[in-house]
């Protein structure tokens, strides 16, 4: 029985594997140790010369040696590949913070984003967007909204007019859309009307001649003050978060009764007004010819006000300067 020193063979294989510099060498090594001309193959050929007993024993030894060679090479190759990619990745270690501070925002104006957000909240409870003209008749802006001739809101100092008879003006409130919409549509009505309104104020930190409101109107059979409360509480929670506290305090608007203001409790404990609302005054519904089986509620919210609160913007002028430093933040 031949006595080949397989330990020596395996030791030399290990040394050889340690010297590998290129992945292709593994195939050559396999050939060299287990291929056609390898020592192992020679020994295999010699098996036929042995007795059946020895053939069995020595054959098994050869098989084990072969297995061990193949396994060693496979493991070494795997390790080689792992090391290769690991060192490749080791070399790449760029500063991740380089672009971390760059912010170009969503490219949408924050007032539009806030309007969208508010619209979406109301769309989710069945309101559709309505709109109306910005240059309006005095009748739609005042008379139809139960604001008679002698009301302070009609004084020229607040309102911008576009004709000398004071019959047309730049609407001072989106409530005009209530009237426009009801004139053309039968109840039930569930609408919100976001849009621009105008006042005679120079643009500065706290005033703007142009600003945005969102008007809401619901008219149906059986809408009650409790529904008004639930609807606006839903809105406030959706917009400011579930934990926000709200309260309703009585107020006066010519076109709603009862009228209320909604206040939210801010982080510093201060109560801040965020919207005005009320049950639609029966006179308004009469003006548009709705039958008295219908009643409803309306509200108005300032978009700049919401944006200023939510993002702590302290200058209303920022919204209209369109400075990229401002635009890119949102």
């Amino acid at each position: 029985m031949p006595e080949l020193n397989f330990d020596k063979v395996l030791a030399s294989l290990k040394l050889r594997l340690d010297e590998v510099v290129d992945e292709s060498e593994f195939d050559e090594i396999l050939k060299e140790y287990a291929g056609k001309d390898s020592l192992l193959s020679v020994e295999r050929k010699n098996l036929s010369n042995l007795s059946n007993e020895d053939k069995k024993v020595y054959g098994e030894t050869l098989n084990n040696v072969n297995k061990s060679i193949v396994t060693n090479i496979k493991k070494a190759k795997e390790k080689f590949i792992n090391n290769k990619y690991a060192s490749l990745e080791d070399e790449e270690n760029d500063d991740i913070t380089i672009d971390w501070i760059t912010n170009t925002g969503t490219h949408r104006h924050i007032l539009s984003q806030v309007m969208d957000e508010v619209v979406n909240i109301f769309a989710s409870i069945g309101y559709k967007v309505a709109y109306g003209p910005e240059v309006e008749t005095s009748w739609h802006n005042f008379d139809a909204l139960n604001t008679p001739d002698w009301h302070p809101a009609r004084y020229e100092s607040d309102t911008l007019y576009t004709d000398n008879d004071l019959e047309t003006l730049l609407r001072t409130q989106t409530s005009t859309v209530q009237i426009r919409h009801m004139e053309e549509n039968d109840p039930p009505v569930y609408i919100v009307a976001p849009g621009r309104v105008f006042r005679s104020d120079q643009l500065d930190a706290t005033h703007s001649p142009v600003f945005h409101q969102l008007e809401g109107l619901a008219v149906d059979k059986n809408l009650k003050f409790t529904d008004l409360k639930g609807t606006l509480e839903y809105f406030v929670k959706q917009f400011f978060g579930e934990d926000i506290e709200t309260k309703f305090i009585p107020h006066f608007f010519p076109f709603t009764e009862p009228s209320a203001e909604v206040l939210v409790k801010w982080k510093n404990g201060e109560w801040l007004e965020i919207l005005g609302c009320g049950m639609v005054d029966p006179n308004v519904l009469n003006h548009v010819g709705y039958s008295d089986e219908y009643q409803g509620f309306a509200w108005g919210v300032g978009i700049e006000r919401l944006a200023m609160l939510k993002y702590q913007v302290d200058h209303i002028k920022n919204f209209y300067d369109n400075d990229l430093r401002f635009l890119e933040q949102f």
């Binding site: 760059t102 170009t104 969503t106 490219h107 104006h109 007032l111 539009s112 619209v119 769309a123 989710s124 409870i125 069945g126 559709k128 309505a130 003209p133 910005e134 240059v135 008749t137 002698w150 302070p152 020229e156 911008l160 007019y161 576009t162 004709d163 019959e167 047309t168 730049l170 569930y190 621009r196 105008f198 005679s200 120079q202 001649p209 142009v210 149906d220 809408l223 009650k224 003050f225 409790t226 409360k229 609807t231 309260k247 309703f248 305090i249 009585p250 006066f252 009764e257 009862p258 209320a260 005054d281 029966p282 009643q295 919204f319 209209y320 300067d321 369109n322 990229l324 430093r325 635009l327």
Partner: protein, 790 residues
Amino acid sequence: MKILKSWLNDWIDLEAISTDDISEALESLGFEIESRTDKTPNYKNITVGKVLEIYEHPNADKVRVTKVDVGSKTYEIVCGAWNFDVGAVVPVALPKSEIKDGFKIDKRDIRGVESNGMICSASELDLWDDHAGILKLSDETKLGSDFAKIYNSTDTLWEIGVTPNRGDCMSHLGIARELSNYFNLTLKENSQSLKSNIESVIKVNSGKIKACNSYQSIEIENFTLSDSNLNIRYRLSSIGVRVINNVVDYTNYVLHDIGQPLHAFDRDKLFGTISVRFAKDKENLKTLDEQERKLTSEDLIITDNNKPIALAGVMGGYDTEVTDTTTNLLIESAYFDKVSIMKTSRRLNLISDASIRFERGIDFNLQKQGLQRFVNLFENDQEINYSSIIDSSKNGISYDSISFDKNEIEQILGVKLDDNFIRNTLIKLQIESEVSDKKIKFESPSWRYDLERPIDLIEELAKHYGFNNFESTLPIGNNLNSTGDYWDKRIYLSEKLSSTNFYEIQTLSFTDSLSNELFTPEKISVSVINPIDQTQENLRTNLLTSLINTYKFNIESNGKSHRYYEINNVYDDSKHKKFKIIPNQEYSLGLLIPENETVEDRKGITKTNNINTLANAIKNLFPSSELEHLTRPGFHKNYSYLIKLDNKILGFMGKLSYKIQSKLELDDSLYISQINTENFNFDQLKAFTYKPLSAYPFIKFDLSFSVPNDFQASDLINCIESILSKNENNISIFDNFTNEKTRNLGIRIVTRSYEKTYTETESTEILEMIVKEAESKFKIKLNTKDENAT
């Protein structure tokens, strides 16, 4: 409006109620709290003393030496004020006391005389501004009393908002009446009846005029013009009313106490009969502020012998005012119509505490009480002679009783209110009512002109029930998750534009006339007749100027060149298509792309844009739109197009003319566009079908053709599209090179069959077919050396 807790306490007993609870009550009753100040004395250890002696200072002639009795002891105090004599009762700051702002008082040597403290003025005690000198107190004040205890030095001041429908709440009585229901307290009675002791001299006849429902007067003789008492001055100055003299202070006090404006005339300057009428045009009146006022027939005036002596309810006349030499008074207490007071007050821009109250409507039964309160206050300070009240009232105002179905309350509020609650509330508010099983009948009191309809009473009940005590229910509307065409379009445009590097902007709607002329000279501007300033006298007829201004602003102040868009109205003076009376308004989209666009990377590369960048942006928004060349003002001669969609004009686009570019001092060219969003609908944009994806590999050809200068690439693309119409294609122009002689157009064709993988032979056949067809159809030539098929 400002209110004091101690003053409210005159009307209802608030001693046991905390200030926080009162604040909460005020707010829940609809009085918005603008501020609250808890007042405490800004001084320490001030006592009350009486001046016993006054003598000259041995070494100084600007000060005097006094001996002051503070009850237990007498002190020598040097004093620089001269407005008091022996016998005056005054606040004294003895050693170890403090006056305003923590200033410590001690013994001090003043030119060789030891002064044991000081005698104080109102300003030194931080009470009110008074430059007359020492604060003189009532002779009856007990010597040695703690000064802080002789009036309500610890108090609370609220500044509250009163809504315009609640004129009746513009006084301490009015607020107290509201609180009396909230806290279930009884309103006190404060007026004492009068015992006249002289005959009146002046006749009063308020005439037939409706705008003056009631005119009452009282005459006062032999009074001394002096200071009103400490309490009145403290209260008035606390609520921001300047203290002047007793007559003026009492009128102001009555106004803030019960809400009745009064006016004091110098009786000896009045002649004949006092009457009320509207002025005649060209009549004049010199008012208290020494201004000569031109009156109109809308101004309600008070006259004597038919000559104007006061603007009713707004301001008194100069010639009849009370002065230092006045010895006899006539006090007016009247009810004037709110509309006429408002007109005069606004026209002359004269807004006073009185006019504000008349405008909102005062109690039409309050006039007599006003005069009573005035005389009560006067009598409390000094002995006076007065006449009985002359009453020239018409009693032309009354409120009908109103009856309504009790169910209406629940129908509006959603909550059933208990009969006892309704009854008690109405009693406390002094609203006469009958509450039966089915009906409520009520009659508004004389101060509540806001209760005209059932809904007014329902609101009143809801308010006193407490808005926050109602439950909340959430009704769902009939338009679930459909925002409508108007909004859908806005969102569609914004999303597409913002995702392709356009920044959305919001600019003001105003402009000057030049900016409108620049791009839209065919439109007549809508002008504001009372503009904020000259640069904002017109409404914009286009969005282009604001876009250019924003672009320019950010180049100059931030060094950044970007694309912008705005979606807002433009306006012009033609008639609105739907609502004829108002001017035309088009909800429009404006776009701007600069020639060189800042790209956000560290290499500082700018992206170069041209007219095709804008054309592509338009096509991306409106895939089936068409461009049609049309020269228009403000635009480049060639690069100016109409945008059409289904043969309807959507808007226009092009390159800013070089002339305007240079006029606006812009280095780079700008590509601009305006689109009327009302000329398409959202469904139109979504009216396309999906192109299926082939499962087979693509073949790709890059071809370069030699083409004439006026050749349109889209013709070639359409031609190839039609050849390959059964395939899934992606055809694009990758090169467009022009020099003086030639133009080369590089076209990339990527195509896949829906049925098979093309063999090399098939691929070559397709290529040859395309080249042959293109060359023969357009008389163009393939540049063979650039040919490259893969």
